[in-house]
C-alpha cells in the first residue's frame, strides 16, 4: 500500500492537487485541511489529479461533494481529473458523477472553469 501524498501546484488561478496512494478516512483529513486552506484564501478553482490514486473511500467522496458545492457557491468548482477506471466505476456506482465532474485531460478540465 503506497503512502498517501499530496502535491499542489498553480495553473494560473486554478489549483491543481496531485493525489497519490489511498484516500481513506485516515488520510482524508490532510486533503480536507488543504482544501479548507485554499477556500480560506479565496481560491475556489480546484482540480484533483487522481491518476496516482489507488483507492478512495465512501466518506472521502461524500466530503468532496461538500467541497464542490462550497466552491460553486463562490462561482468556482472542484473537479476530478484522470480518475483511474476502477475508482471511476465506484464514483459512477455511487452516483457521484451527478455532482462531481470528471475529466480525462487537464486542458478540457481547465477550459471548463467558467471564470478562471
Amino acid at each position: 500500500m503506497r503512502e498517501f501524498r499530496i502535491e499542489q501546484e498553480s495553473r494560473g488561478n486554478i489549483q491543481l492537487i496531485h493525489l497519490q496512494g489511498s484516500l481513506d478516512m485516515y488520510s482524508f483529513p490532510r486533503l480536507e485541511s488543504q482544501l479548507q486552506t485554499l477556500f480560506q484564501q479565496g481560491r475556489y478553482y480546484v482540480m484533483l489529479d487522481c491518476s496516482q490514486l489507488d483507492y478512495i473511500g465512501s466518506a472521502g467522496l461524500g466530503a468532496l461533494i461538500g467541497f464542490a458545492k462550497q466552491a460553486r457557491d463562490h462561482d468556482g468548482d472542484l473537479k476530478l481529473l484522470r480518475v483511474p477506471e476502477r475508482i471511476y466505476k465506484i464514483i459512477e456506482l455511487l452516483g457521484f458523477t451527478k455532482v462531481l465532474q470528471v475529466y480525462t485531460t487537464e486542458e478540457i478540465a481547465r477550459a471548463s472553469f467558467q471564470k478562471p
Binding site: M25, G57, G62, Y88, L94, G95, T97, Q101, Y103
Partner: protein, 201 residues
C-alpha cells in the same frame, strides 16, 4: 499488489461468530457481511469476534455495518457484544475518531491481551462477493445507496458527533434513494466523462 487473498472469511457456532477481514473493509464487501451477520443475529448468535490482523483499513460504510451489529446487540433480547481483536494503531484511530471504541470491546495489538481463541484457519469459509476488487460490477445502485445510508445512520446513532462528518454524504444519499430517475445512458465521449457541454467559457 501482494498475493494475499483479500476478503472476509467467517466461522460460527450456535452462539459465536468469527469474522476475519483481509485487505480492506469497504462499502462493497460490507454488504455480504451485513447479510451474514443479520442472519446469525436472527438465529441467536450474540457474540461477534472480528479479527483485523490482516485488515489494511476500513471505510466509513464498513464501519457503519460493524456499528449496526453492535447496536443490534444492545437491543432487548440480545445480551452479547462485538469484540474487535488485533486492531492496529491505524485502525484504532479510525474507531476512536468515530466513537466506536465505546460501542465495541476493542483489543489493540501490543496493548491488550485476548483470552479468546479463534478457530483454526481451515475452519473459516470465505464470504461470497467479499473481495472488494471483484464486487462492484454486481452491485445495484439503489441498493448500494440504501445500504450506505443505513450504515452512516448507524454511525450517527452510535455517536451523534458523527452527524456533521457525514452530512454531505447522507444528504446526497437521501436524495439518491428518493430519486426515481433511470440510470444515465453510457458515455461515449471520454474527453469529459460527465460534465455538461455548455460549461465552457
Amino acid at each position: 499488489m501482494d498475493g494475499t487473498i483479500k476478503g472476509i472469511s467467517v466461522n460460527n457456532t450456535s452462539t459465536e461468530v468469527h469474522v476475519r477481514i483481509a485487505g480492506r473493509g469497504t462499502f462493497q464487501n460490507g454488504q455480504p457481511l451485513r447479510r451474514y451477520a443479520m442472519e446469525l443475529l436472527g438465529r441467536g448468535c450474540n457474540e461477534f469476534f472480528v479479527d483485523l490482523n490482516q485488515c489494511q483499513g476500513m471505510d466509513s460504510t464498513f464501519l457503519g455495518v460493524l456499528a449496526g451489529i453492535g447496536l443490534r446487540l444492545m437491543q432487548p433480547g440480545h445480551s452479547g457484544k462485538i469484540h474487535i481483536v488485533n486492531v492496529s494503531p491505524r485502525n484504532i484511530e479510525l474507531l476512536q475518531t468515530l466513537g466506536l471504541d465505546r460501542l465495541f470491546d476493542v483489543n489493540v495489538v501490543g496493548r491488550d491481551h485476548t483470552h479468546h481463541s479463534f478457530p483454526s484457519e481451515i475452519d473459516f469459509q470465505m464470504l461470497p462477493d467479499s473481495d472488494p476488487v471483484d464486487t462492484s460490477k454486481s452491485l445495484n445502485k439503489r441498493d448500494t445507496a440504501n445500504f450506505m445510508l443505513e450504515a452512516h445512520n448507524n454511525l450517527v446513532k452510535a455517536d451523534p458527533r458523527n452527524a456533521p462528518k457525514f452530512q454531505d454524504l447522507t444528504k446526497f444519499l437521501r436524495e439518491k434513494v428518493g430519486d426515481q430517475q433511470p440510470p444515465n445512458p453510457p458515455h461515449h465521449d471520454h474527453s469529459c466523462l460527465n460534465a455538461p457541454k455548455e460549461t465552457h467559457p
